[in-house]
């Protein structure tokens, strides 16, 4: 009996040891979490020896855990700042774009059923609290022929810190100098006006319930819940409605001037069909991984992610990466040493 127990313990210990060698832990952004889970599952099927765990605790949390060294990789909806990168002295953090998302304006205007058009200036004015009526001249100019009511505008924004807010405010900072100087871009900002709803569902709920309101949600959320949303005027001057193609187009438009480290905002990107409120989401990978098995596994996952992985994107409602970005990323995989 005793021998049996001894053997069992030893086997268990052995099992944890072998598991530990190939278990990779990551944490971070919630927005791409569904596709990451899917990817890690599929990758595990193809490579049974590699187990990748992912905790969707938020981009900020992912960056914190990576900095403290409690996870093998992080994930974030916004690129790390120079200071954040410098805070990690053991290695340099590489950014790998994985998929793309868009943020769309959603609204509830009594008597208006069709899609509304918004220029960046107008959105900036609304969210700054300068444009307060739906029949404001600026809105009328963007939407000729639409009978806009004389109703008060209620702004709805995210109350929780989120990558979605970061993209939205980053876009507003680019198109509205006033927004840039007064508010700026971050996961949470000092909103000049409006109500805060928790999560996409909180914002969508408030917009649905409040006549005359306007808010913003992730494209995926709007698509999955069959919500109506408006078009936004892009840098080329055309009004574009967000979908997977126009979002991917934004990355393609920005690809020409993309910095080597991929830390780039693609809001207000050039390109006739580029949707202006688009973003990458990134995996944050150390460029030095001491454990050889882990290093191999991560490198092969990254290669898999830019090829096979991308085929899962659309069915999971994410916009896939454009080819020029994939080509650049494949080169960066070699930097993981």
């Amino acid at each position: 009996m005793k021998k049996l127990i001894l053997w069992a313990t030893m086997l268990a210990a052995l099992a944890t040891l072998t598991e530990a060698a190939d278990t990779i832990n990551g944490a971070g952004a919630t927005f791409p979490a569904p596709i990451y889970q899917k990817w890690f599952q599929e990758f595990h099927k193809a490579h049974p020896d590699v187990q990748i765990n992912y905790q969707s605790i938020g981009s900020g949390g992912g960056i914190r855990q990576l900095t403290e060294g409690t996870v093998d990789f992080g994930a974030s909806d916004m690129p790390m700042t120079d200071d954040q990168i410098k805070a990690i002295t053991k290695y340099h953090v590489l950014h790998f774009p994985t998929v793309m998302g868009g943020v769309v304006p959603t609204y509830n205007v009594p008597g208006v059923s069709g899609d509304l058009k918004f220029s960046g200036d107008t959105l900036g004015g609304i969210f700054l609290g300068k444009i307060t009526k739906w029949n404001d001249a600026a809105l009328k100019k963007d939407n000729p022929g639409v009978n806009l009511p004389n109703a008060d505008i209620t702004v709805v924004h995210r109350s929780d810190g989120s990558g979605t807010s970061f993209v939205w405010t980053d876009y507003l900072s680019k198109v509205s100098p006033d927004w840039k100087s007064k508010v700026g871009a971050n996961t949470s900002v000092n909103w000049p006006v409006g109500l805060g709803g928790k999560g996409n569902e909180g914002v969508a709920g408030l917009v649905k319930q409040t006549p005359g309101s306007i808010g913003y949600v992730e494209l995926i959320y709007a698509v999955q819940n069959k919500m109506g949303y408006g078009s936004v005027k892009n840098a080329a001057g055309s009004f574009v409605k967000a979908d997977f193609n126009t979002v991917t187009e934004a990355a393609a438009g920005a690809a020409k001037e993309m910095p080597a480290d991929f830390r780039v905002s693609i809001t207000n990107a050039p390109g006739k069909n580029a949707y202006p409120i688009s973003t990458f989401t990134w995996l944050l990978i150390p460029d030095k991984i001491d454990n050889a098995a882990k290093k191999m596994a991560i490198a092969s996952f990254l290669k898999w992610m830019t090829t096979t992985g991308q085929t899962f994107a659309q069915e999971m409602s994410y916009a896939p990466l454009p080819k020029p970005v994939v080509a650049k990323e494949d080169k960066q995989v070699a930097l993981v040493k």
Binding site: I57, G58, S59, G60, G61, I63, R64, D83, Q84, D152, T154, S159, D160, G161, S162, G163, V183, G184, A185, N186, T187, S188, V189, N190, W191, G194, L195, G196, G197, K198, G202, G205, L206, Q209, T210
Partner: protein
């Protein structure tokens, strides 16, 4: 406790230890003492952690953190006042509603209602007290908010709109909605504990009052309720503690606006709500430590209110001691 053991000469120490074990009393004393000490330990660790991790924020803002009104994660300017204001205002309003309701219901259930009504009501009350707060949040979003926006708030504006308390657009979310949902959440606590303490009043008290010619209501209101007031006050402070720290339900309906508004219809914020909202995505020392300092402020606020509760109880006990 253990001092006798240490003072004893070495040769008898072993025997004493054996005796100590055999007696059991001392062991039980020690073990339960350790359990009790863990309460103290948790409190100390809590304050220590909050204090240490709020360091960067305390160094940058000092005491001005308490009265500054900006909350700007971009410019890294943080102040706690809008959140302190929102927390105190919503909790106070909630108790204003739930205390009369809860104590009234408890009096009915304990003194006036028949046993069948009383028992079934009490069962439901205890059920309500155990409902998770997020469920109350959903209730608030789907029923309370639309009702308030369409009927409640327009009515308040029509009738009391001359007061600054009831001005501005009727969003349906805001201080008032948060206070209402908090009152709904806290009043099962008040009923449950108040009822228990009313039932604990000795029968002789009631009989004596009735014998003196008091009516049923006079005996209840003038004899039974004052006798049970310690328990009732206790229930109120338990309710206050829940209201101060409530996070989920409040976040869902308060509107999450970092400005201070006089109007109860306007959106606001509470300390617990902003920590829950912004903690996961907060990066950078100052931002993170400001959120932790808010936790410290909430802890302090609870301490101050609890201490004043103790003082209040002390004061009322002394004044009313003739009766007991």
């Amino acid at each position: 406790m253990g001092t006798a053991v240490i003072a004893a000469p070495p040769q008898s120490r072993a025997r004493k230890l054996v005796k100590l074990w055999r007696d059991g009393d001392q062991v039980a004393h020690l073990v339960t003492f350790l359990f009790a000490a863990s309460v103290f330990l948790v409190t100390v660790v809590l304050v220590y952690e909050l204090w240490i991790h709020s360091g960067p924020s305390r160094a940058k803002f000092g005491f001005s953190f308490l009265w500054k009104t900006t909350w700007d994660p971009v410019a890294l300017q943080f102040g706690a006042l809008p959140f302190i204001y929102g927390t105190v205002l919503t909790s106070f309003l909630a108790l204003l509603i739930s205390v009369p309701l809860g104590v009234g219901a408890a009096i009915f259930l304990a003194e006036l209602a028949g046993p069948r009504t009383s028992n079934s009501c009490t069962f439901l009350v205890e059920l309500l007290a155990a409902v998770p707060s997020v469920i109350y949040g959903l209730l608030a979003i789907f029923t309370l908010v639309p009702l308030l926006r369409q009927y409640g708030e327009p009515f308040l504006k029509r009738t009391l709109g001359f007061l600054p308390l009831f001005q501005g657009p009727a969003y349906g979310v805001g201080y008032l909605t948060a206070a209402l949902i908090l009152s709904i959440m806290t009043f099962p606590f008040i009923i449950s504990i108040s009822r228990e303490s009313l039932l604990a009043v000795p029968r002789e008290q009631r009989e004596a009052a009735l014998a003196l010619g008091a009516t049923k209501w006079e005996s209840t209101w003038q004899v039974v309720v004052p006798y049970a007031r310690l328990g009732i006050i206790g229930s109120v402070f338990l309710a206050l503690a829940r209201a101060l720290g409530e996070t989920m339900a409040v976040t869902m309906v308060i509107g999450n606006d970092t400005a201070i508004h006089t109007s109860l219809l306007a959106p606001g914020y509470t300390i617990a709500a902003i920590i829950a909202n912004e903690f996961t995505e907060a990066t950078g020392d100052v931002y993170l430590s400001s959120l932790i300092e808010l936790g410290l402020v909430l802890f302090g606020l609870t301490m101050v209110l609890n201490a004043s509760a103790q003082l209040l109880i002390l004061a009322t006990t002394r004044r009313g001691s003739k009766q007991e």
